[in-house]
Amino acid sequence: MNAHAEAIPVEHPAGETVLVAQGVSKAFNGIYALKDVDFELRAGEVHALLGPNGAGKSTLIKILDGVQPQDEGTVEVDGRERSHSDIATVFQELSLVPCLSVAQNIFLGNEIRNALGLVQKKKMNSIAKELTDSLGLHLPPEELVENLSVASRQLVEIAKAIHRDARVLVLDEPTSTLTKADQLLLFKSIRDIQKSGVGIIYVTHRLTEVFELADRVTIIRDGRKVLTADVADMEMQSLVREITGTEPDEPGPAKEDFDRYTHPELTTTSSSGPKLQVSSLAGDRFSNISFTASAGQIVGIAGLIGTGRTELLETIGGVRRGTAGEITLDGRFVRFKHPWEALHAGVALVPEDRHRSGIILQHSIQRNLTLAHYKALRKGGLVDNKAARTLIHGLVDTLQVKTSSIDSPVQSLSGGNQQKVVFAKWMQPGMQVLLLDEPTQGVDVAARQEIYRVIHRFAEEGAAIVVASSDFVELQELCDEIYFMTSTSMSEPEKVTSDTTDQYIYSRLNERVLESHERDQY
């Protein structure tokens, strides 16, 4: 509630210990997710909690918050047992109520009520508006959360936690789908809160953020604490080494199985023109968009939140209907009315919102992947179970999905591992075009490299790849060319070089937004 207020008296001197967790252990089905972890948080510090996917970060956070009981160990805040109101958390798996409004979500469990127990709607709305505005989220507070994009939901979630005004603020990968612009606003809010003496735990896989924001860092790996150190004493190289547990250049495990699966069938259509061509396309939230992607090319699309990158990819992939413009695939006009038509033509979409569109949470890894890979696995109308298990074990190994079994429900996986499963669905032969919307959100550094390798491999086989990512570092690392998108225009492509840094992309986007505003005005 105080994030936006200016003069907050400092209640707790910085440096004093607020939260202490000792000997925390937690096992799921007999397998340790956390083993004897100690953790300590000081007032006024931003404490980065890092580790590979499935290390136990989110589990630790849920235990600190109290929503999940630990098997062993203690958690204390200010020297006494922590209560629910001590800690405000933004969980990794968004936990908003879709059918409630932004304001109702922000105030859930904390409603402003009158003497009769009735909700003070107006008051709540106006406070909610102030809060979301301060985070750069310009939304009517009465908007239902189910209508929001992932990024907007993430911001609402952050607003909700900030509003709780607790002793400890925990942010579990708050920026996984935010762009640089939102990230900067978020960091500003975090620093305000920091000043008021609140201790902040911050989880991220975007390691550059650690150096921008954090004071100290704790790394856990395989459920055990590896180290706690001042960020000032660390540098990128050593951070990566501690997280992965290997030297950065060490080669990953062999990927032969998977390569053999995709390789023989990939049909490189030897067309001279671009594989995918989009001309003057318009649809929900965007218009006048043109770009091309040739076989073997990885094309990036950069944009700010709300420019319609997701809608653009969804329109190409047959999820939404376009209202104007043309799409050609290998020179032939296509207009997919359903995703299955697109897939039939070899156009696959890796969606941004994994819980809604990417996976079926309560189903096993095997069931999720078999559904996508059925073409290779069916015998008659039936599924060849043995072949399925072999294939899926291969996929899971390739992407280093951390799980005890491929029969585990996807919801028991850590967030990053869930994302790997989403990606694994489309690691299959016959793909002509891959539309990737935030393909590595929440994925750790090592696995991210593996995903990049697979993407490159698809490109080598002749597929055209389109990547929309709010992680501008990723665009630079992965893409051959970048387009800058606003909701009403697309730039000419720019070749990616070592100068195409995230800072550069961010400023180019701001320029374009200003330009288009000026155009609008005249």
Binding site: S95, C99, L100, H138, K160
Partner: protein, 322 residues
């Protein structure tokens, strides 16, 4: 400010939220259309007396629908209302007969039985983590069995004027008392579900139980309370029945649960929880009651009535899309 407008999204395909809004709207249109149609088709339909009939005939379903709306918005279901309805009536009648023929005792007995069964339904659902479909299906059998056994299937006669006046056949300003009760309960339902903190938590629990819990909502209490509300309203409506029948019967209310659920769903409440309105449920109940009334007034054969009612239900909801 310009950014504000560009940031909304239409959900994919279904137009879910917009559609939902229109759906609620169309239930009311369907209601008005039915009134118009029957007014033309039958000369006696559009009269104060007949509307009083419709109000009386729908009171029981409407009142229970208010409670069941809470339950369904919570993503739960209650199949036991018909049986508990019978049991409430029986216990109330027996209390009046054997303990004291004071109307308030009968009223409290019925409501207490309803509340107890609601509490048991809710408690078993949340504590055993069992689907409420099965819990309440089980309680359906239990309540009916008890209702039949306590008097060995005999009805219990009630002779209590004040009781009849309060729950049965009197009028207030020309409005049947059953309609007055309906209005009071619907108004309370609207306030509690749509204006109170508890109501917000019902929606949260039905919309995303995990998020609600993470945020400190006691979802178990929310669910139990919703069943208790339903139970209490079942008790109340059993009084409206015994108030006009002047007797309690152990075999009444068979299939009542389906009428109520149909009304609630027709009113736009989602079986999957998290969305719906009390007023919609009332409209759903009125549509069904109106059909029952109007088709008889038109002299339609009872088999044909079933077909027409089926078609109207389908038409009413299908119009709601686009």
């Amino acid at each position: 400010m310009s950014a504000t407008n560009t940031r909304f999204v239409r959900p994919l395909w279904s137009g879910r939220s917009a559609g939902n809004f229109i759906r609620e709207y169309f239930v009311y249109i369907a209601l008005v259309a039915l009134v118009a149609f029957f007014s033309i088709a039958s000369p006696v339909f559009f009269s104060a007396q007949n509307f009083a009939n419709v109000g009386r005939q729908t009171a029981i379903v409407s009142i229970i629908a208010v409670g069941v709306t809470f339950v369904i918005v919570n993503a739960q279901i209650d199949l036991s209302v018909g049986s508990v309805f019978a049991l409430c009536g029986m216990v109330s009648g027996l209390a009046l007969q054997y303990i004291s023929n004071f109307w308030l005792l009968g009223a409290l007995a019925a409501i207490a039985v309803g509340v107890i069964f609601g509490f048991i339904n809710g408690l078993l659902t949340v504590k055993l983590g069992v689907p409420s479909f099965l819990v309440t299906l089980g309680m359906l059998g239990v309540a009916r069995g008890i209702a039949l056994i306590i008097t060995d299937t005999r009805p219990v006669l009630i002779a209590n004027r004040p009781f009849f006046s309060i729950f049965g056949d009197s009028n207030i300003l020309g409005i049947p008392i059953a309609v007055v009760w309906t209005v009071v309960i619907v108004a309370l339902g609207v306030i509690i579900l749509h204006k109170s903190v508890f109501g917000l938590r019902v929606f949260a629990t039905g919309g995303n139980p995990q998020a609600a819990r993470f945020t400190g909502v006691n979802t178990q209490r929310t669910i139990i309370l919703s069943f208790v509300i339903t139970g209490g309203l079942v008790g109340l409506s059993s009084l409206l029945f015994t108030g006009i029948a002047h007797a309690a019967r152990p075999d009444v209310g068979v299939g009542l649960e389906l009428d109520v659920i149909a009304a609630v769903i027709l009113g736009g409440v989602s079986l999957f929880g998290g969305r719906g309105t009390i007023i919609g449920a009332l409209a759903g109940s009125l549509i069904i009651g109106m059909m029952n009334n109007g088709l008889v007034l038109m002299g339609v054969d009872s088999s044909v009535q079933q077909i027409i009612k089926g078609l109207i239900i389908i038409a009413a909801v299908s119009l709601s899309k686009k």
